[in-house]
Assembly symmetry: C2
Homo-oligomer: 526 residues x 2
């Protein structure tokens, strides 16, 4: 078989089931090989940022890495923003990027670009395969790097002549560990850290358990809640978790606020900040005369579980060590807000989603300012998973929803989506239509980059004049998202009242396949 | 004044008139400063690839660099593909990229990414400004790098605390040379090269003048045509020129074909390949058993004018040296194709554009396969400029048209746009609507990545099965570009016959402002 066939068969043998693609000429042999390897499902995206974001969403929900197929340096460039988000989410992913033939690179053809250099900014592993004989090993190495904790983005760059060269006889069944099963050995101090955390909690000295990553499963939250209840500790989670399990029957946890003023209040009084799969929280941006770190300066920061460890298991070990397995965790009561009526506001949209969110739903939340009410309104909805914008590179919500729906065909995926952010990867809708994905997108059309209207003040800039303000306004012309959506093959409707929104959400949740509901809101922050 | 104000005033003092923006929190002080510097026009884009492509289009038409304002590493990433195209077009451009505050970078906040590393892949100049006192000098250095031949992309990375820090008293009027006026001194061998080319032409030994860059002005083409006519030389130009002046009254020149089979025929028999602002032509991609270089192996390659020189002037010097200023150049006769009728094909679309193209039009050509007839059909249209996809990173046509229209408000801009490529930067339409730009976009909807259907065969891959073929097809669902266009605020219509297309083109050319005409074509290559 040729190199392309060998690579695809290797991925399939490793258990990779989906490849999000946006190929070009240098990847044609991969495309040609798809029919021979039906175990690998190819999902076409119209833009690389959709492919990389979808691979992120797929892995967050399935726990397994997807592959992407990208076209040379520019294709990688188009995918960088969502690869950055995936990196920050510690998402396992394998990028397969086509490159010019080994002998052709020296001619500096028009599409030449330093692929490895650019990929390095978002990848934990980058390798350019230089020999056919090493292509299978390189692919296995990329896979192993992707799934070794802390998981991340692995990139393999494949010159076209390797894809078309014949000479690989067979792929031996690849023996590999499962995703997340491997980690760098840290046993040396794991026990010490466990005992230090135990002592801190027993000391009762204003401890805050700060959770992230794999601590945010139901089991992890139950263990954390037992610890919090037994020792009067506080629980908080990172501002932008990759996946947060929440809803009725699951211990509730507040996310650290995006706004530093609130985040510092949440952490105020903490004497010991116990990190569990999360990093010491820092400000998203710097602001004049505001601190970069959020924890009180006198708080001791203790790592209980690093990003390269199984936080859920370590929390359970701590429960056992402290003998608090009999303590009841706090479980979220089932509770739904009333259905909204009248003119739409951010609160009304949040209430509608909270009132109707289906059991087992997956929420892709890129709601930015308008969505600030959404977590509270959905807190007591049936159990669901909540995916957030981990790296701050906007344009993630729609691709993430797309990949999550591929990973979990039985779940309703709800994408709460800000208007400005939607514009970076709006092409996601076409893939949702093509694959008949069960995604309901709620566009929050407030006709502005409302967060920037707020940030313009927060960074201490002069009051913006009309030219400055116009840079933050998404009108004129007002975007008609329903029309755009229909253009991509997804039924799109526009709603302006709570009653209309409720009716359209009920319709979308009852009917399989993608839907887009554009909620027209007051301009700016509401 | 603060750093942001100083930087913007410096750009304005250097003659930079337009900034294409997609700002975020770290760029808010730049936004706040816009009202105080009305000389710098800010044009908002919904996606960074639109901003960078528009800056490219602006500079190709105006001859002056525009600035871009991009948000951190992910914003740069989204702009990379069109920066790559600008790099290959040798377009002067200054990227201003916000970065976290100097003291905040150490905390590895969520949006951290190696901006300089990524920018280096597409920039001839990258500098992170580390001190307020150096910000103005850094800005001037970036400008000078951008406009020094060979022109290119200069990137200045500005930490947020520099933008908000006060302490710059005044910007002294910056003394600088005009764009393109400076070049690395090469006088040492310029005369030698001139005389060698003269000798080659006089020798009459199957010379081909291979033109690119600044040789493709009317004056450059007139000089080349005199040389060709005097000495029986052949004229060809690079496959994907940044700007080609053409049409009635201008010497016609064939572009080197994209397909190697044809390119090698065009260059066949050449004994001396004289490069004038162009590089030795190579294959866009490698193909099994096909050569990477296109010129005959026994042809001598001679550089008459390098990319860092004024090719137009050097051609005129050669005319003078050879005393052929009295030789008549071949000028294109005025000639229009007949108006098409009946079912639409690629030829019919090309004929309609050729029949109706207004005098002084600017054509942004990202027509890929369907547009193969467009150059011939427009060859005898009134004088116009033709912009092409210089770097092969698709998604350039619509932003380029946007920027060209900003640069030349009096010209009709016609964007001949393939459907698949349109999907990378479709958000351009919104900026066209917002700025009321005189752009007519003709979408060639053949429901496929038709070039890849061809390339799949050309790279010698196995005949694609249904899964492979589906990766190259843009249906189902069929994209409704007219609906998408209306969603972005640009009137959009769909046409299916020559008569309808003609009527809509006549309407669009008669009415100011943006229009989109979606031409429905047979599926695939037609």
């Amino acid at each position: 078989m040729n190199g392309a066939q060998a690579l695809i068969r290797t991925l399939a043998s490793l258990g990779v089931e989906v490849c999000f693609t946006n190929p070009g000429t240098s990847e044609m042999h991969f495309v040609a090989a798809l029919d021979a390897v039906p175990e690998l499902r190819a999902v076409l995206a119209l833009f690389e940022g959709v492919a990389t974001g979808a691979a992120d969403g797929y892995a967050r929900i399935s726990g397994k890495p997807a592959a992407t197929l990208l076209h040379l340096g520019p294709g990688l460039g188009n995918g960088i923003a969502n690869l950055h988000n995936a990196k920050k989410a510690h998402t396992p992913m394998i990028n397969v990027i086509g490159e010019h033939a080994t002998y052709h690179r020296a001619y500096n053809p028009p599409l030449s670009l330093d692929i490895a250099g650019v990929a390095g900014s978002v990848s934990k592993f980058v390798r350019t395969s230089e020999k056919l004989a090493e292509l299978v090993d390189d692919t296995v190495a990329a896979y192993r790097a992707a799934v070794m904790r802390p998981c991340g983005v692995a990139t393999i760059i494949v010159p076209a002549d390797l894809t078309w060269s014949e000479g690989i006889d067979s792929i031996s069944p690849v023996s590999t560990t499962s995703p997340n099963q491997e980690s760098t050995p840290r046993e040396t101090d794991a026990d010490l850290r466990l005992r230090a955390a135990a002592a801190a909690l027993r000391g009762g000295d204003s401890c805050t358990l700060f959770l992230g990553g794999s601590a945010l499963t139901k089991a992890g939250l139950v263990a954390a809640s037992r610890l919090a209840n037994a020792f009067g500790a506080k629980m908080l989670c990172e501002s932008f978790p990759a996946v947060l399990h929440r809803g009725a029957g699951i211990p509730p946890i507040d996310r650290l606020a995006y706004l530093g003023e609130y985040a510092m209040m949440q952490l105020g009084g903490t004497k010991r900040l116990i990190l569990v799969g999360a990093e010491d929280p820092v400000a998203f941006f710097a602001y004049p005369s505001k601190p970069s770190r959020y924890a009180p300066e006198d708080a001791e920061v203790m790592v209980l579980a690093g990003l390269d460890e199984d936080s859920e298991a370590i929390l359970e070990q701590l429960v056992e060590l402290l003998g608090v397995g009999g303590i009841e965790p706090t479980l979220q009561a089932a509770l739904r807000p009333a259905l909204p009526s009248g003119p739409l506001t951010g609160s009304a949209v949040a209430a509608a989603i909270g009132a109707l969110l289906p059991e087992g739903a997956i929420v892709s939340d890129e709601s930015i300012t308008v969505g600030v009410m959404a977590p509270a309104a959905t807190a007591g909805a049936p159990a669901h998973r909540w995916l957030t914008l981990t790296g701050g590179a906007i344009g993630q919500g729609m691709p993430l929803a797309t990949g999550a729906a591929i990973a979990s065909p039985g779940s309703k995926v709800v994408n709460i989506q800000a208007d400005g952010s939607a514009m970076y990867t709006i092409q996601s809708l076409w893939t949702q239509a093509r694959e008949k994905l069960d995604v309901t997108t709620v566009i929050l059309n407030n006709k502005s980059y409302a967060i920037l209207e707020m940030e313009l003040d927060r960074v201490g800039a002069e009051p913006g004049g009309p030219r400055a303000r116009s840079m933050l306004q998404l009108f004129p012309p007002q975007i008609d998202f329903a029309s755009v959506s229909r253009g991509f093959g997804v039924p799109g409707v526009t709603v302006t009242s709570g009653e209309e929104l409720v009716a359209q959400l009920q319709h979308a949740f009852a009917e399989p396949g993608p839907h887009l509901i554009e909620a027209i809101l007051p301009q700016g922050i509401s």
